[in-house]
Symmetry: C3
Subunit: 362 residues, 3 copies
């Protein structure tokens, strides 16, 4: 039997290869961009920037998420330049010549264009980007003819119901800027063989040999690890003052579930909180990672609520992970790099490679 | 009748297209680089940097403007690195091995070269760039065989005689660094449809519907707007303490003339001052704009002279214009951009596009 | 007889040409990277960064220099990120999963890999880069099948024995970051025609017409200059408190020897100290230069020892040289540049050009 080997350097160190990967995995599929609560009311908006593509994500009068390329159909002017906001009166107005659009993208007003031969407002609505939601998470799809989100997420659509993710609210957000290819971050997330080496605090809470992974799939990779005896959750102390999510089974209350949802969401479900990492590739060797901690509103309503016990624990682990991921990026980019052997405990990484090369059966 | 549409994104967002445009419009024609008063006496010099090409612009003993690539014919060393100065004794000396040239570019001295077989000073004069002037403005032409400046400027050669531009002197200069394609700045300059939306101060002085444009031409685009009743000039107050230019007609004293001279001069003639914008493209998405205010020496000699009433008015308008021009650059670079419709009040912009594509009849 | 001319701009101003040059002169030959004393004991190490290629240079238990690409054979992780250090217990350990290597590169330990089918430690030693020494200088060679160092340095192998370079120790190091092609620095070093123009202090110590050069060769270029009467060495005062190197002949005690060793070592041997410039090309128009001053340990042991009299003299001369080299880079990159004529006193520069073009007979 042949030892599975890591991918050639091109997959991590080549700018052209990166652009092709972005077209396929990010501009050709549903990407995770945030949470529904960020556009709570009709007219609220959020700007998304995916590799320089600015998108307005808003909610229409009927309460549905809608997304549009952030530019005017007149002369291409960027419409919004604040990261979040609210469209007053449900109107999106261009700052240049005051062309005005509704929350569904229809062009409502355009000064002096009525006098222009051949012009019709109907022909110039904002250009839409597909937007949809799953359990409180927001997704966009830049494809001309996107598959349904439910189709892309088929394997997990009902999987995490016990956590009631749609009920959770943001407690803490931090953004990390990494000098590493986006896939190295997923690889780092997909094995705990490195945990005893670089995570002294993590190994006290959850032993790296307790991991149990599902077989690799094109839509997700993941599994769970078991908390050590006496440990209630992944926090600085290993204890938690938060009630555990009430719909979890006894097994689920003793485990942390770690899942990568293709392409850019790392979903880490704890007994009392949800951690998400959203990956924003910037270049073949740079990725921004937005790490968020979400809690049940009842826990957040308590006087003694804090997100810091979870955040501080993971912030340290994150930084340890980012450091080795950046070291991997540096080494792989060398002319001295050749593919190396995966151990049998790195099967998810080999699985990810097969997803990336298109060799994993559908 | 078809609605004229804006150009494809390539014209604004592609680095290769930009380089081709630079060869044609900037290195293949006369470009505006400054004013004659900057090299008032023989031996005075000014360095011009056009897209990294450094040129020495000086005045020879006969009082004629001369320009040379800023490098020694020996080993290519840059000769001058100060922006302005004076060549003492009419000698341009290389800082490396002291090769010495005259103000007409002739090689006068080169140590140890006389002992070098086959060498002759005659073969190694400085390499010239064509230099000429019009109404006090300085122009360069990098072509091997440039047309006469008068030919390029035929349409305006006599047009602005009443303003006696050659008599005017610099009162104020400011440089803006824009993140926008050079043509977006010309487009912004060529319509006032945006004025009521973004220029609250301008619309008080001159109504955007008073504009009267000439038919688009390859050598220039422009027209005039009329000052509102009670307004003497474009200043913070709308008043001016400066005498109006004495050779203007009554109509000319009530108007501001706005002209783009292909490729990089925006000439704004007011009843009492001249404003110029010189465009210095840096990249497909970056342009430096040098904005200057020029006045009649008699006005400048007065005790109460100030350039600030004009400068402060236009500085605010400029910044409003630069902001939307940068927003246009951002939007046009998006994959969501498609050409949009021009209104009938944007005919000069469509004209500019035809100049750029080469479709406007000569 | 035709006057020899400088090379076309491509050789200095083109990024692709630069990459090809790097493959040939730097990755295809022995390059100077430091001094043996930097890895005095077994397990000491030094990181070398050549154009982004990080190499660990260490000394094995037998005292031989060894070098390895700085990356783990498992998943490519960079092994070390501190510039210098010592491998405790003679073990090189990866920070990610603790794979462990010996000082000769053998893989000694790899957790969980024994359970991995088909895996064998023998197959995954660190990837070696050839390392060798000459008279105390350290060299690396990235070629798959390098020639012997002695072969590359044949012409100088015994040439500088009287200076006993292997006995000398570092007294001072300074790094300069130049905006100039690496070859312009060698050219500047290879003629003193510019000395009377830009080096007022140097010309007091050594007259530029005293230079005597060897015929150009592919492996080195150089010659010597004679110290002026009353001058003991190149120092701020022209005097020195250091004893002269004891094995020098009387002639050698009155001269400074200046040699370029292809590709990146400038060796300047004074009667009482050795100056080295090591060139680290970064881009076609950027080079880092490490300038070091080395002395005999007996001189360094004296109470009144200082390296500053030599350093301060050369620091000023260096900066004068870097300035004109940067001006040359700027001028040569211009579209106005054409090859210019070398004087008969610039024969080494023409020789260098022939080495670069491959036209100098072997």
């Amino acid at each position: 039997m042949r030892t599975p080997m890591t991918l050639p350097a091109t997959y991590y160190a080549d700018a052209d290869h990166f652009r092709r990967e972005m077209e396929r995995f990010f501009f050709g599929a549903w990407v995770h961009v945030g949470r529904e609560e960020q556009i709570a009311k009709p007219g609220d908006y959020l700007l998304v920037d995916l590799l320089g593509e600015s998108v307005i994500v808003t909610r229409n009068e009927a309460g549905k998420p809608r997304a549009f390329y952030n530019l005017c159909r007149h002369r291409g002017t960027r419409l919004c330049d604040k990261a979040t906001g609210h469209f007053k009166g449900g109107k999106i107005t261009c700052p240049y010549h005051a062309w005005t659009y509704g929350l569904d993208g229809a062009l409502l007003g355009a000064a002096h264009m009525d006098e222009t031969p051949g012009f019709s407002k109907d022909k110039f609505p904002l250009r839409a980007v597909a937007a949809d939601t799953w359990d409180g998470h927001l997704f966009l799809n830049f494809s001309e003819k996107p598959v349904a989100l439910r189709e892309q997420l088929a394997g997990v659509w009902e999987k995490f119901r016990p956590w009631r993710m749609e009920e959770l609210k943001l407690g803490k957000r931090v953004t990390y800027e990494l000098k590493a290819n986006w896939k190295l971050i997923i690889q780092n997330y997909s094995e705990c063989l490195h945990c005893p080496v670089i995570h002294p605090t993590l190994k006290k809470l959850s032993h790296y040999m307790t991991g149990d992974n599902e077989a690799p799939r094109n839509d997700y990779l993941g599994g769970h690890m078991t908390l050590n005896e006496g440990v209630a959750s992944m926090t600085v102390s290993g204890a938690t003052k938060r009630p555990l999510f009430r719909h979890l089974s006894d097994d689920e209350k003793r485990r942390v579930y770690y899942y990568w949802l293709n392409p850019n969401l790392l979903l880490s479900l704890h007994p009392d909180y949800m951690m998400t990492h959203t990956l924003w590739p910037k270049a073949h060797d740079r990725t921004d990672v937005v790490c968020e901690f979400h809690f049940h509103p009842e826990a957040m309503a308590r006087e003694d609520f804090t997100a810091d016990d979870a955040f501080e624990f993971w912030d340290q682990v994150n930084r340890e992970d980012w450091h080795v991921s950046e070291l991997s990026q540096l080494g792989i980019a060398s002319r001295g790099y050749t593919p190396g052997p995966y151990s049998h405990r790195e099967s998810l990484l080999h699985g990810l490679d097969l997803v990336v090369t298109g060799e994993l059966p559908a």
